[in-house]
């Protein structure tokens, strides 16, 4: 039996308010390809960041045993020196540098004060050959496609003398052909003795390439399946990923009457802002009724946020087409202001980056989207503003010593409440909540769910985008499933299940592939 390349024992990693990894054990055999699968937020990336030293020794508990030796990495350089190289989902290449320059960035050939460009390009050419690229090493990165860029990343990893290569969603931005080439390359490297770990949500790829599959769920290791020993069919893997009980983590909604259609979107198309020929949203139609909670499920990158933001005053994308009707009347929303005035609110998934002003107090954040409500002729009435902030603090039970506290000092859950308060004060009819419970603890989640119930009880409509299937199932009256920019399924409450939603996504994945073939 092959010896173990890597053993991670009892790894626990805690973020403020969230236990991301809880006693995770993970063993990789030498010369194998090991897949790590799990839902969004299961802890895959966190585990790999612990391994690579991005989260340094001391910030987690547990042991990393690599090639029989206990390792304590304090940064990425340490792990790279041992031959552990991670290739991130988002490519880390500098577009206006050549392939060769990128390949040896931070790892330059030659003397410290004089880079040896001949050696650089000679070695780059050698590694390019290994990964099967014909390009000159002097070609600029921006001039080659994403698939080739991914190959350059792999060549770069090899140039660092990688003995354990970690690939985080390597095929997420590749087309079918490039993906296949990449997977075959991994199999080729395996023959030469390279060990790799692949993180992927594309189950068919995983079963094609992996020798072992470890399933993570909610920060726990669920099981490790071995090819040839266990059943590694897609169904089996999915069951492992989602197999979780729906308990009463969701407050019951008191008979809210579902009324007229409040928002109707038809034939919505959106193109990528940077790559104008890439279609991000493909002919999406949906509607939301008064008093209804509609869930939008899908994997990361399915286009849910892009859909929401493009509707919300064209805050995302180019070349947008389609119609939006609010209460049956067609509206043209060209700016967030128009969207707000039409009764829409978009509560972002990125509360720190694009939701709140962390350096400003709660009161300022609460009134930002509706400053008219507390001002007269452009002059703010500070008393009214404080009273509004105080009213929402009480309503949403935000825990803070004062509404003059800076938002940056609050916990994630309380920040989320301030963000909700801001949009509730704008008094919309339709709220789009994007990942409303991301990164907050269970107690705060429950409170957010109660707020959602209150909102629909008041006759508002809620669109809830969430990557957590139990949450979507527990809260929604109706669910749309999105994949690759298209609506691939619609379920009524009661007829949906985690397995159904997952297989809905996966079957459209493979259907798309068959079409291409």
């Amino acid at each position: 039996m092959a010896e173990n390349m890597l053993e991670m024992r009892g790894i626990t990693k805690v973020f403020p308010g969230v236990k991301a990894l809880d006693d995770v054990n993970f063993v990789v055999k030498k010369g194998s390809i090991h897949a790590l699968v799990g839902e969004n937020g299961a802890g895959k990336s966190t585990l790999m960041n612990v391994l690579s030293g991005l989260y340094p020794y001391g910030s987690y508990s547990g042991d990393i045993v690599y090639e029989g030796e206990v390792c304590r990495f304090s940064n990425i350089k340490d792990s790279e020196n041992k031959g552990i190289v991670i290739i991130h989902q988002e490519l880390a290449l500098v577009p206006y540098m050549s392939i060769g320059e990128n390949m040896f960035l931070g790892n330059e050939r030659g003397h410290r004060f004089a880079i040896d460009w001949d050696k650089t390009h000679a070695e780059a050419t050698k590694y390019l050959k290994i990964v099967g690229l014909q390009e000159s090493s002097k070609t600029l990165i921006k001039d080659i496609g994403v698939g080739k860029q991914q190959m350059v990343e792999i060549a770069k990893a090899l140039a660092k003398n990688a003995r354990l290569m970690i690939l985080d969603e390597p095929t997420s931005s590749l087309n079918e052909e490039d993906s296949q080439a990449l997977l075959d390359l991994l199999l080729e490297f395996k023959k030469q003795g390279l060990t790799s770990i692949i993180i992927s949500h594309k189950i068919n790829e995983v079963s094609y390439v992996a020798d072992d599959i470890t399933i993570l769920r909610d920060g726990h290791t669920i099981e490790t399946l071995t090819k040839g020993v266990d059943d590694i069919s897609e169904d089996r893997i999915i069951r492992g990923m989602v197999g979780r009980e729906l308990s009463d983590r969701f407050p019951k909604r008191q008979n809210v009457e579902i009324g007229e259609v409040a928002l109707e979107v038809e034939n919505w198309n959106v193109f990528h802002p940077l790559y104008p020929d890439k279609k991000v949203i493909d002919n999406v139609s949906f509607h939301v009724r008064k008093g209804e909670v509609v869930g939008f499920s899908g994997l990361m990158g399915a286009g849910r946020t892009e859909l929401a933001m493009s509707i919300f005053g064209r805050s995302y994308g180019t070349d947008i087409s389609g119609t939006v009707k609010i209460h049956g009347r067609e509206v043209k929303l060209h700016s967030p202001r128009q969207a707000i005035d039409a009764g829409l609110a978009y509560v972002t998934e990125d509360r720190k980056g694009s939701g709140l002003i962390l350096s400003n107090p709660i009161s300022v954040n609460t009134t930002l989207a509706n400053l008219k409500g507390v001002s007269k002729n452009g002059v703010i009435d500070p008393h009214t503003e404080l009273m509004v902030a105080e009213e929402y603090r009480k309503k949403l039970n935000t825990k803070t010593p004062s509404v003059q506290q800076n938002v940056g000092n609050l916990s994630g859950g309380n920040q989320q409440k301030v963000l909700l308060a801001k949009w509730m004060y704008a008094d919309p009819d339709i709220l789009i909540l994007d990942e409303p419970t991301r990164g907050i603890d269970v107690g705060a989640k429950y409170e957010i769910y109660c707020i959602i119930n209150d909102l629909v009880a008041q006759g508002k409509s809620v669109i809830m985008i969430s990557s957590e299937l139990p949450e979507v199932l527990g809260m929604s009256d109706r669910i749309y499933v999105l994949n690759e920019g298209r609506v691939v399924g619609e379920f009524e409450r009661g007829e949906a299940s985690q397995e159904k939603i997952m297989s809905c996504i996966l079957s459209t994945d493979s259907a798309a592939k068959e079409q291409k073939q």
């Binding site: 919300f312 005053g313 805050s315 700016s335 967030p336 202001r337 969207a339 707000i340 005035d341 978009y346 972002t348 980056g353 694009s354 939701g355 709140l356 002003i357 962390l358 350096s359 400003n360 300022v364 930002l368 989207a369 400053l371 008219k372 001002s375 452009g378 002059v379 703010i380 500070p382 008393h383 404080l386 009273m387 105080e390 004062s402 003059q404 940056g408 801001k422 704008a426």
Partner: protein, 390 residues
């Protein structure tokens, strides 16, 4: 909060005021109290009037995200040039003033358009403006000096020997008007402070403790009375002080009480969040830079009135004085943080250091070294204290 924390908190909140007091005490000691002479106090105000005005405008730009305006020195020069040439041709003084302000606004709007709507980086746009308007001033003046002979203009906007508010109360041996203004200002301050306290208390909002508010008021009243008394002993209220106080009051109001002011802070704090809250951020950038043009126009007026001429070299490095004052006065280099009173304290600190060292006879080159180090120290303090907080 423990006592130690309270002290630290106090120091952090009032760092620059404490620094100003310490620096003033230091110079009072080294110059045998000369720096607190009425004449020197008047000088600090008149000499630095342009800094106060420009720094206030610069703060608005910096609030939007640490963006600066490099062109203000050249704009001051150009506006001054236009004014001097017009008055030379016996144009009515008030018309000339209006034209100068309009020219300032137009220049501001020109730069603001590129910055706000075309997204040319402010640094580049205003660097270009710095060269363009310096060059244009030279072209108009043909490299020569044009003197300003309109006495009324000089008296109203200048900082020279006769540029004081006349004492129409006719005090004997002391400028009575100046004293009265000081007392009225204190009374108004107390009235508004306590009215605000009472209405907040009625509304059930938290207020600072009565003792704290009283102490603060006593200190402010004492300082105002002391300085107006000093000024009254000399020639009274310098005209430049009137303009500076007007600018400070108006812009303190705009930044703290109006929606436009709120949006300036919001953009600097988080531009994406501001956009998604339905605010047209381009308009706010446009406002900040157009307004900078207006205030550069006013600074141009003050400058030629004080120096009673226009020269192609006027206004050089004014932008640096303004930017320096902002950062010393607690504006964040990343935007979103800073107040008009803070910036004024920063400008005062620089002014006191300047004049103090001049009285002590320190070489002008060393003065620059000291000012540079003070600026660096202030920004280091800002960056480090932010790191600790996060």
């Amino acid at each position: 909060m423990t006592t130690k924390n309270k002290v630290l908190d106090f120091i952090q909140k009032y760092t620059m005021i404490i620094a100003l007091v310490l620096v003033t005490v230091f110079f009072a000691w080294r110059t045998n109290g000369k720096i607190l002479d009425a004449r020197n106090i008047t000088n600090i105000i008149s000499q630095n009037a342009y800094v106060f005005v420009l720094a206030t405008g610069m703060l608005l730009c910096i609030l939007t995200g640490g963006n600066i305006d490099l062109s203000v020195g050249s704009v001051v020069c150009f506006v001054g040039t236009v004014g001097a040439v017009l008055m030379r041709r016996d144009l009515n003084m008030w018309l000339a003033v209006l034209i100068m302000l309009v020219v300032g606004v137009l220049i501001g709007a020109w730069q603001a358009f590129w910055i706000a709507y075309v997204k040319v980086p402010p640094f580049i746009t205003t660097l270009a403006g710095m060269m363009v308007f310096r060059g244009l001033s030279n072209v108009v003046l043909q490299g020569k000096t044009v003197s300003v002979t309109n006495e009324k203009f000089v008296q109203i906007f200048g900082g020279g020997a006769n540029c004081y508010v006349p004492d129409f109360l006719h005090g004997e041996g002391i400028n009575l008007l100046c004293l009265v203004v000081g007392i009225v200002a204190c009374a108004l301050y107390l009235f508004f402070t306590f009215r605000n306290q009472i209405s907040r208390r009625r509304a059930g909002l938290e207020t600072e403790s009565l003792a704290k508010a009283l102490l603060k008021s006593v200190v402010i009243v004492a300082v105002v009375i002391f300085f107006t008394y000093k000024l009254a002993q000399y020639k009274g209220l310098p005209m430049a002080l009137i303009w500076v106080v007007l600018v400070v009051l108006i812009y303190t109001y705009i930044t703290s009480k109006t929606t436009v002011g709120r949006y300036l802070y919001a953009i600097g704090g988080n531009e994406t969040a501001t956009k998604l809250s339905g605010i047209d951020t381009r308009k706010i950038y446009f406002f900040a830079y157009t307004n900078m043009g207006l205030l550069a126009g006013l600074a141009g007026i003050l400058t030629i009135a004080r120096l009673t001429s226009a020269q192609p070299t006027y206004g050089q490095n004014y932008e640096m004085d303004a930017i320096g004052s902002c950062f010393i006065g607690g504006a964040s280099a990343y935007g979103g943080v800073g107040t008009v009173p803070g910036v004024i304290i920063g400008a005062l600190l620089m002014g006191v250091i300047n004049i103090g060292m001049s009285i002590m006879g320190v070489d002008a080159n060393y003065q620059k070294v000291v000012k540079g180090l003070v600026l660096l120290a202030a920004v280091i303090f800002d960056v480090v204290s932010k790191k600790k907080n996060s």
